[in-house]
Amino acid sequence: MKKLIAMLLALVMVFALCACGATPSAEAPAAEGKVFNIYAWNEEFKGFFEKYYTVPEGVTVNWIITPSDNGAYQQKLDEALLNQANAADDEKVDLFLAEADYILKYVNTDATQDITKLGVTDFSNTYKYTVQAATDPAGVVKGVSFQCCPSALIYRRSIAQDVLGVSEPDEVQAKLDSWDKFNAVAADAKAKGYYMTASFAETYRVFSNNCSSPWVDENNNLQFDPQIEAWIAQTEEFVKNGYTLTAGVWDQEKNDQMFANGKTMCFFGPAWYFNFCMGNAQDPENGCSGDWAICEGPAAHFWGGTWLLAPAGTDNPTMVADIMNTFINDEEVCSALVANEAQFSNNMAVNAKFAEDPDYGSAFLGGQNDVAVFSAMTDNIVWENHTIYDQLLNEGLQNNLREYFQGTVDKETALANFYAYVNETYPTIVTP
């Protein structure tokens, strides 16, 4: 008898629990979800978000972080977005991050939604290309970037002094403002025992960002822009003459060159690069913080950048808009990004304030006002000739040509391998 009563009580409890669980989602479609899922490929934005954004009470933020290498992040995100309609409210993607290389894949589909309808309407202070990148062909804006990413030539002052005889940004820029000068200086650097660059793909973005045609034409034929050809020609020379190491852009071999005992003069990258990826240079013991400076280099370009996109079907639209507005229009937060995080924010007014501030300077860059340099560069950035395939085509080309540069295979084989890779990755693209 006792057992029976115990069992009944237990059953009643279970039912009560079930009932509890069912009520909230059934009764409150108007209220917003309690779980906010953000998809990202690294911890960069997470850090800023946790520091500068106050999450509404009762909302839990979930970070789903997948590295972007080999397209892994896109795969994870695609599965989630394609399942968005069927997912439970707490499982839905509420905000996701995308890079310049594949942002179009999401912007040009229904997987993302119009953020002006959610309440993000003021783009007066954001840089034009960051809005263009997140705008679909019909002119609908689907997201914002919390950073602007003009990419600079980052050089070691001491090595520049040795090679060029000057170390101040203006003077260095004058000696490196075209590819011809850059290539000539590479020879001088080599003669003094230095490397011009530490990766065979170091200058890739500088060329590829200035392409006059996209990766595929209107019939989906793969095409090589003259800028890409120029990069290949330059890298052939650089590798043959020993002006560069043959490491990959993200390889440890390259990163080791950022230590004080490194022999490499030039790196290319935007603000996020020297803040987030040059940890070795900032190492208190073996680094060389302060021995660096930036200038525009041979050609204007940008690299990467993190856009926040609003997925269709989020159950937290207000919070999505709130986050976006915070990171582009909240002066306090944007200022903090510049002052504390050494970001180049996506707010012209804030950036202008820092650019004109004589007291502002980056300790890493030996006191140079990086915001002023980047501000001057933003006018030259264009957003054009992008496709949804860019990330993996850029990656694939670099990986396959690297074998050619290293001398493992001849150029024809390397290209054939690249085409094989393209056929496997994107069945719709027609390769030569």
Binding site: Y106, A111, Q252, Q406, T408, V409, A416, Y419, E424
Partner: protein, 320 residues
């Protein structure tokens, strides 16, 4: 026991219990192996992939996927054939030493004349690498042999190399590393299987052979090997099927690219390439079907050639 009961007992069929006990296996086999296998074959006749976020297909295309698979590219290479060759080379480089060493160790460990002490310890040690996840093992080698890794550092520090080498960009070293890893991971397992096989052989035969004056080589080739044949064939076939499906070690070591020059791209890595970004079930299905056909054919071939040889061996001896 009266007559009646005896007849009744005769009528009871225990066979049904046999069927009931093996039923779970067949249900699991049907759901998890047979159905996916048939679905794979079915899928291989369709155009079915994703372009960005847009799903294309499934549209029936007949044998087009297979035609594409065997169409040579501009330089005349047929991808499928090349990757099959890679897989075979990588497997043979790993499996031959694996089976030879395992056989040797198994004979040593089971020999009552050698009577090796601390067998349990050695068995545990040689089995150990198999307990490590292949991916972790591969990652370890990746780090060891990277241009800034410890192997390069040691070689440069001792003056063996002038400057560090990117081992992972060279065809032969990468193949050797992959085979070495597969060898290290699997020879322990094979040793233990073969030991069980040798222990199953009647000890009297060894003693009889010795009394007849056979030396250890003769004992090995005339007694151990023929009687071990069934287990050996089983080992070779499972090793071969495993080898044809080689994936994790080269995938992690070459970061999924089969570098250099796709010379370390195995068939399953090739299959995986189709599934990664484009979710190309049609092409991946076609690769799987070819892989399935090839493994079946090779298994049959190995089974027939190895086992028939030993099946007929005693007869020949009788004739002499």
């Amino acid at each position: 026991m009266d007559k009646n009961e005896r007849t009744r007992r005769k009528g009871v069929s225990y066979a049904k219990w046999g069927y009931i006990f093996i039923l779970p296996f067949f249900i699991a086999y049907f759901i998890f192996t047979l159905t996916p296998q048939i679905m794979t074959i079915y899928n291989s006749f369709f155009e079915n992939y994703r372009d960005g976020l847009t799903q294309v297909g499934p549209n029936f295309v007949g044998l087009e996927n297979y035609v594409k698979l065997f169409t040579p590219d501009k330089s005349g290479t047929i991808g499928m054939v090349k990757y099959f060759g890679n897989t075979l080379v990588l497997w043979i480089m790993g499996a031959v030493p694996q089976i030879v060493v395992a056989l040797l160790l198994a004979v040593f460990f089971t020999s009552y004349r050698l009577n090796i002490k601390g067998q349990q310890f050695f068995k545990t040690v040689i089995y150990m690498p198999n307990l490590i996840m292949a991916a972790a093992f591969s990652m370890l080698f990746f780090t060891l042999f990277s241009p800034v890794g410890p192997v390069n550092q040691v070689l440069v520090a001792h003056g063996v190399l002038e400057k560090s080498i990117d081992f992972l960009s060279l065809k032969v070293p990468v193949r050797v590393l992959i085979s070495l890893m597969n060898f290290l991971m699997w020879f322990g397992n094979t040793t233990i299987l073969l030991m069980a096989g040798i222990q199953g052989i009647d000890q009297n035969l060894f003693e009889a052979a010795e009394i007849d004056g056979a030396n250890s080589l003769q004992v090995f080739f005339r007694v151990t090997l023929p009687l071990l044949a069934p287990i050996l064939v089983y080992t070779v076939i499972t090793a071969m099927i495993g080898g044809l499906q080689m994936f994790d070690v080269p995938q992690v070591l070459t970061n999924g690219k089969g570098t250099p020059d796709r010379a370390n791209m195995t068939m399953v890595m090739y299959l995986n390439n189709y599934l990664q970004t484009s979710k190309n079930y049609g092409m991946a299905g076609a690769v799987s079907v070819v892989l399935f056909a090839v493994s079946s054919a090779l298994s049959l071939f190995v089974y027939n050639s190895l086992s028939s040889q030993y099946r007929e061996a005693p007869k020949k001896r009788n004739r002499i």
